[in-house]
């Protein structure tokens, strides 16, 4: 699913990632871990095309994303779900509209959107909550909405950047259980985290980064 060959990412004089060679199989669950500033978020940004590598080649789902022209970026992202630490929900839209956004942008008919949204809200434990607004939800519920949005168009890969970073223990476990269930349906899941306890509780492959280098895979 993901292949990286001698990938470097530099910001001026600073090297955020150094000579990364990596392979993640389809349907795998991986943690991207390491201390702050190790390059975890940079790696995810490269994967979802927000940044391009300074050097090297990377393939996501067979697509070379290292030199992807901007006009091809939307098509790549439609096959990808992204979850952020700060949820990135739209406050002026209700839960259903936030989740349905990923389908709306590809021109899905309204009735199909409504059906899919109801289904994924059920998966993340928010059945019947589509009409509520993000500000009325707890942090854990907001993150579950973000996860629902990430999976609503049935992507082959989900990238989560510190998805439990803003959540307390119980809520973090709930979110991890959802990500695990998504993985069990065959979706590749990459979670950037430095929460050792969570990694102990949900043991999967760890890709450990330090100072921009992959030190354990």
């Amino acid at each position: 699913m993901i292949r990286m060959y001698h990938v470097h990412k530099r910001y001026g004089e600073i090297s955020a990632l150094r000579d990364i060679n990596l392979r993640v199989a389809k349907g795998e669950f991986c943690y991207i871990t390491g201390p702050s500033g190790a390059g975890k978020s940079t790696l995810l940004k490269l994967l979802y095309g927000a940044e391009q590598p300074s050097e090297g080649k990377m393939l996501v789902g067979g697509v070379d994303v290292s030199r992807l022209p901007p006009r091809r970026l939307p098509a790549m992202r439609r096959n990808m779900g992204i979850v952020f630490q700060d949820f990135k929900l739209i406050p002026s839209r209700n839960v259903g509209e936030n989740v349905g956004l990923a389908l709306e942008v590809i021109g899905t008919p309204r009735e199909v959107i409504d059906r899919r949204v109801a289904a994924v809200l059920a998966i993340v434990g928010l059945r019947g909550r589509g009409g509520e607004y993000p500000r009325t939800l707890s942090g854990g519920e907001q993150q579950r909405v973000a996860v629902a949005r990430a999976i609503v168009n049935d992507p082959s890969i989900v990238l989560a950047d510190e998805p439990t970073g803003n959540l307390d223990g119980a809520m973090a476990i709930e979110v991890m259980e959802i990500l695990q269930s998504i993985n069990l349906r065959g979706t590749t899941v990459l979670v950037a985290t430095h929460d050792a306890g969570l990694m102990e509780r949900f043991p999967f492959r760890r890709l450990r980064f330090e100072h921009g280098k992959l030190v354990q895979s």
């Binding site: 939307p74 439609r78 992204i82 990135k88 739209i90 002026s92 942008v105 021109g107 168009n153």
Partner: protein, 297 residues
């Protein structure tokens, strides 16, 4: 088709959710178009005046006081026979006095002070348009010079000067119009940029879930077109109000019969204003969203 529906729905929703900023953008376009419209109205009317002067070349030949009434009528009949003269009319001292008093009632005490013959009698001649070249008029006026007439007054030289002034006005208008257009473009672009800034979280998420640049930009173009069209309506209403309130009063105050009817902008000019407003709104919106799309992840 479904995308189009989503896009239109989002545009309408954004227009409503950011009502204050949308009203501001509309008013900025309206103000810019109003300024341009005022200039166009002035220019249109000046052009119409010059055209009417060019069409009806008019000479006033003022009699010496001592020319008798018989001679005056003889001269009138003589000129009426000339092929280059379209109309000739004798205006007596009393007619001239009545004409002036009708238009400037306050002047009566002055005329009383000056006596009955304060205004000379004249022949008012209109030349046929085919004979109205500046050279032909000058030759005709020279022919009138003689013992019978004190002054020959024809406005051709003035018309030419006025034409030069009008050309300068057109140049000035083009420069001012361009400056107003560019200023409005940046003002509207910055106002729309505030709307984009307010919605940046939503647009960023749209980009992250795979929205194309067209999908993100299209609602803003619809909003921009709405600003432009509504701004044009505001400008047209403003122009109409200015025309009714100011120009008509000005015309009443200066009823000297020189300017004729001061007209409102014709439909073709209004259409031009609408097209310009529409373009302004769409281009300003496109500029603002483009700036965001380049910066967003």
């Amino acid at each position: 088709m479904h995308s189009l529906r989503h896009i239109v729905r989002r545009a309408i929703r954004s227009l409503w959710e950011h009502l204050y900023l949308n009203v501001m953008a509309t008013l900025v376009i309206g103000a810019a178009l109003l300024l341009i419209g005022v200039y166009l109205t002035v220019q249109y009317n000046l052009n119409a005046i010059v055209d009417s002067w060019d069409r009806d070349v008019h000479l006033s030949a003022y009699f010496h006081e001592d020319v008798g009434l018989e001679r005056r009528f003889a001269l009138r009949d003589q000129f009426a026979q000339r092929r280059e003269v379209a109309t000739v009319r004798y205006v007596s001292e009393a007619d001239a006095r009545a004409w002036l008093m009708e238009r400037v009632p306050d002047i009566e005490p002055v005329l009383v002070e000056l006596g009955d013959n304060a205004l000379p009698a004249s022949l008012e001649l209109t030349l046929v348009s085919t004979e109205a070249s500046p050279e032909a008029i000058a030759a005709f006026a020279a022919e009138l010079q003689g013992p019978d007439f004190e002054t020959i007054d024809y406005g051709q030289e003035w018309v030419e000067r006025f034409n030069t002034f009008l050309s300068l006005l057109q140049l000035l208008g083009a420069v001012l119009g361009s400056l107003i257009g560019v200023a409005a473009l940046f003002l509207v672009a910055n106002t729309v940029h505030l709307i984009v800034y307010n919605r940046r979280a939503e647009l960023e998420v749209q980009k992250l879930v795979g929205a194309t640049a067209t999908y993100i930009t299209a609602p803003f173009l619809i909003e921009g077109a709405t600003h432009g069209l509504l701004g044009s309506v505001v400008a047209a209403l403003g122009l109409w109000a200015v025309h009714r309130g100011l120009v008509v009063r000005l015309q009443e105050a200066l009823q000297l019969g020189l300017a004729g009817e001061l007209s409102f902008l014709p439909a073709s000019y209004l259409l031009m204003l609408f097209v310009f407003g529409l373009t302004l709104g769409v281009v300003a919106s496109a500029m603002s969203v483009r700036r965001f799309l380049v910066q967003a992840p």
